[in-house]
């Protein structure tokens, strides 16, 4: 009798299913995620943080954020995936945000069974901290320091216009010109890779601080740029340091 019972149990153990455990609550298959908070960084970028409240019945495979200027953005809109999950917290950084809009961010997480998306967290007035600008200049002036010192008012400033290489802003004082080309439409931020030409001569290493004032209107500040000024009598070039701040037309 005991032998029979043992052989019966052995057969039953052999056929014991080794498949995935069925969850009583169907929602237990899927992750649960929350958009925790949004932090505005000094450079104008925004760090969004999310939290995996529950991974679901399998481990998390992807987590990230979506972002839009309309409430409840779709998961595909401006999607950023997080490289890592620190405990149950993950984050991503969005840059080049427009200070004029309110942005909505939502966290999502996906496991092998499906995905979940959190509710939206919004942020207004994205843009960089203006205290990062190392100089405080009067608008619409160009200051040149060299063999002589000049402070020239701008006589004409153009609007931001599309060009063959990006977006161009032209500005003229009575005796000098400044031609700036951004690779993308300029919004609030710090730019180190914009193309700057002073009197049609390329200027290297200039840092530009852009503040968005209203739609299509930006303030551009350059605190220090090494330029060469041509003497109109001798025709020789002399090194000068330029600082300027001007506002584009709308």
């Amino acid at each position: 009798m005991i032998k029979r019972i043992l052989s019966f149990l052995l057969v039953m153990i052999f056929f014991t299913p080794s498949c995935v455990k069925v969850q009583k609550d169907v929602n237990s298959y899927y992750p649960l995620v929350k958009t925790t908070y949004v932090t505005l960084n000094k450079d104008g970028s925004v760090t969004v943080t999310g939290q995996v409240i529950s991974a679901g019945s399998t481990s998390i495979q992807y987590c990230g954020f979506c972002m839009d200027t309309t409430a409840n953005p779709d998961m595909l809109t401006n999607q950023l995936l997080s490289d890592s999950l620190n405990g149950n917290v993950f984050s991503c950084t969005y840059s080049s945000l427009n200070a004029l809009y309110t942005y909505y961010f939502r966290a999502f997480a996906a496991n092998a069974n499906g995905y979940a998306i959190g509710s939206a967290v919004s942020l207004s007035h994205a843009g960089f901290d203006t205290s990062l600008i190392p100089c405080h200049l009067s608008a619409q002036y160009m200051v040149l320091t060299g063999t002589t010192n000049e402070t020239d008012p701008y006589s004409y400033v153009d609007s931001v216009t599309p060009s063959s290489t990006g977006y161009e802003v032209l500005a003229y004082t009575g005796s000098h010109s400044l031609d700036i080309v951004f690779s993308q439409y300029p919004i609030s931020g710090i730019y180190t890779n914009a193309s700057v030409a002073f009197d049609a001569i390329a200027v290297s290493g200039a840092t530009l601080y852009v503040q968005q004032i209203s739609a299509g209107v930006i303030d551009i500040t350059i605190c220090q740029a090494n330029v060469e000024v041509q003497n109109m009598f001798s025709g020789n070039f002399y090194p000068y340091v330029m600082a300027t701040k001007f506002r584009s037309l709308s």
Binding site: M1, I5, F15, I117
Partner: protein, 225 residues
């Protein structure tokens, strides 16, 4: 009203025809609670199933062979299931593409054959354990969308095959009837896309013995001698 599918009736006819030539063939019916497992456990609710089978031997046989038909219809657990795809290449980064899956009802109908061995018999109770094989079809219908990538409407049959393990406790009412409680583990795989339709069943049934074999007193006496 629940309508018996036409294919099920056809299969039943085939099954009974095959058993027509067996002189001692008996029949039985069983109803069980089906618990979806494997790939379908996430998507479908438990439901009742029906089995009808032909069986060799009689109530006192130690070895029993059955051949039967199984039918059940499962309803989805969720109205829409959140699914996603991963798009790699074509964009600057990997993109998680959201979507939905809307499951329709899933029906399973298959034929099985199993052999059970009586492990213990105590008075009118008997404990059986057995194994078997099965094959048939699963009808599945679903609507699947991955945003901007895929829209897929499926309404088709898939062929399935697998094995089963079963155990039962039977109570013999009289030489012509017994009732039992049975637990089955049924491992079922689609033959073309390897979807796992494994499920377990726990249910009650009854066996009806048209032909009974009374033990000969003479034979018994001879054995004792």
């Amino acid at each position: 009203m629940c309508r018996i599918p036409e294919n099920f009736v056809k299969l039943l006819f085939v099954c009974l025809s095959m058993y027509g030539g067996v002189a001692s063939a008996q029949i039985g019916v069983e109803t069980s609670l089906v618990s979806p497992n494997g790939d379908i456990g996430q998507f479908y609710k438990k439901n009742i199933s029906a089995d009808i089978y032909a069986m060799s031997g009689d109530a006192d046989d130690r070895l029993r062979v059955r051949m039967g038909l199984f039918y059940t219809k499962l309803s989805p657990r969720l109205d829409t299931v959140p699914i996603y795809g991963v798009q790699i290449g074509g964009t600057p980064q990997t993109l998680v593409v959201p979507g939905i899956l809307v499951d329709g009802k899933l029906s399973m109908e298959y034929m099985y054959g199993d052999i059970s061995y009586r492990v213990i018999k105590i008075k009118k109770f008997a404990l059986f354990a057995g194994i078997g094989i099965e094959g048939g079809k699963v009808h599945e219908s679903y609507y699947r969308v991955l945003e901007t990538v895929l829209t897929d409407i499926t309404n088709s049959d898939v062929l399935v095959a697998g094995y089963k393990a079963n155990s039962s406790i039977e109570y013999k009412i009289n030489p012509r009837f017994d009732v039992y409680f049975q637990a089955n583990y049924i491992h079922l795989i689609a033959t073309d896309h390897s979807t796992n339709f494994t499920h377990t069943t726990m249910g009650v049934g009854t066996n009806v013995y048209f032909v009974t074999r009374k033990k000969s007193k003479h034979k018994h006496r001879l054995t004792n001698d």
